[in-house]
Symmetry: C2
Amino acid sequence: MELLQLIDELLMDAVVNAEIRGGPPTLGAAMRHAVFPGGARIRPRLCIAVAMACGETRSATAEAAATAIELLHCASLVHDDLPCFDNAPLRRGLPSVHAQFGERIAILAGDALIVLAFQMLGRGLVAVPERLPALLGIVARAVGMPNGICAGQAWESEAQVRLGEYQCAKTGALFAAATAAGALAAGADYERWRLLGERLGEAYQVADDVQDAAGDPALLGKPIGIDQSLGRPSSARELGLRGALERFNHLVEASVAAIPECAGRAQLTALIRAEALRLIPADVQARAA
Amino acid sequence: MELLQLIDELLMDAVVNAEIRGGPPTLGAAMRHAVFPGGARIRPRLCIAVAMACGETRSATAEAAATAIELLHCASLVHDDLPCFDNAPLRRGLPSVHAQFGERIAILAGDALIVLAFQMLGRGLVAVPERLPALLGIVARAVGMPNGICAGQAWESEAQVRLGEYQCAKTGALFAAATAAGALAAGADYERWRLLGERLGEAYQVADDVQDAAGDPALLGKPIGIDQSLGRPSSARELGLRGALERFNHLVEASVAAIPECAGRAQLTALIRAEALRLIPADVQARAA
């Protein structure tokens, strides 16, 4: 099965399980809307790809971790789009959750998706509970305080912010969780796999800044210029468009270099290069050069 | 050590651990504000009391569960107080989190407290990971979809609500998690302990409705009449003040009757009766009779 299809099936199972059995239907619909249709599902793909690169062909642990990580990513987008944050009317070309269902349901959908993520970890590791404390730690660290997504978001409310720390918390942390969790699922030394995720997360954030500064809103399915209008730290603003692209290319190479020794090194390298081309296509690179 | 003091120490450890190591200071302060000073800490006291009633004197599992459950309760209050929900300026006699720190930080504080709760479960059960999947399930069920706190809140946005289901999700679920988790920590058959929590949660919700309808705002530390002004399901409105008090007393007796056979039955009964008197003092009962 294609990785993307597997991940969508895992996510659909998780969401449908939360929806059924008589819960409030609007919240159920909002959770589904937050998760489907999805984006590139890069974090869960990365998680499962790392587990496979470490020699694990089909791992319930990697699948649970991948599901949880994508649910947490979706939850962060729902809260990020709220009126008091980005006030974004669109996400992936459709109304954002609060635009479609109202602010209350959007806040609750984010909350319920966070809970569901941790619930999936518990369910997925029933057969290997000895791995659960470490996996919980990896995932929680990526989204909570002091260095996860919530922390990254909260840095936007502080007067003094350092770009690196901010981006690391806001994006890098969940990428690092994806690679670490994939390695843990395969029984590998997962701390060695964090650097790859951190580098990739940084590359992803720079690409996002470039898109926000120079992307095509029709292709992105969301408005551009938001980071700029909100005065957020942005590598495109700090380094200029050309400098940001150079930084992006450097980070892609650093990611490839950060892959620890493993059986599936070649495939993982190919995945990273394909993903880099998807994030910033060659013609965009050429135009800025 | 007094149970309340133990619980406050556990919570302080959890919050301080999230605050330190360079996280954004405002979010750290908001999380602390959400958890301290506390209310009666009834849910974590109940969790540890059940573990003790089942013969467990000092259990890291019960302490982790108690901490997680109170953090989740505090998170739900922070989000519940937000402008789009209750728009409550006060909580426990102090400014609510959003009144003090703004809406963004309040949303993030709730999110980060949910994450911290699950993180505490992972940390607390490192020595007994085989109990972690069940404990994660108990706790997540109490706060997520389809029957936990998020679901209860979301029922307020539905046209058709049944009072019982609504109250069960909004309050009963976390009480049931507290008793079940306490029993699990002692190695008891935890499903048998859910009913006690459900009954107590229902009693607590009825007492809350009575306070909202007839309480003293100065003693409560928050405004009254909110449920009524928001047109929420309320047993005081449905049954009248006297009917609601009868229902409360009935639920307290049903709680005592629901305690499964255990070594500490007498102490647990005494705790429940003391708590009932705290919730609705004898003079209030007498005035309404």
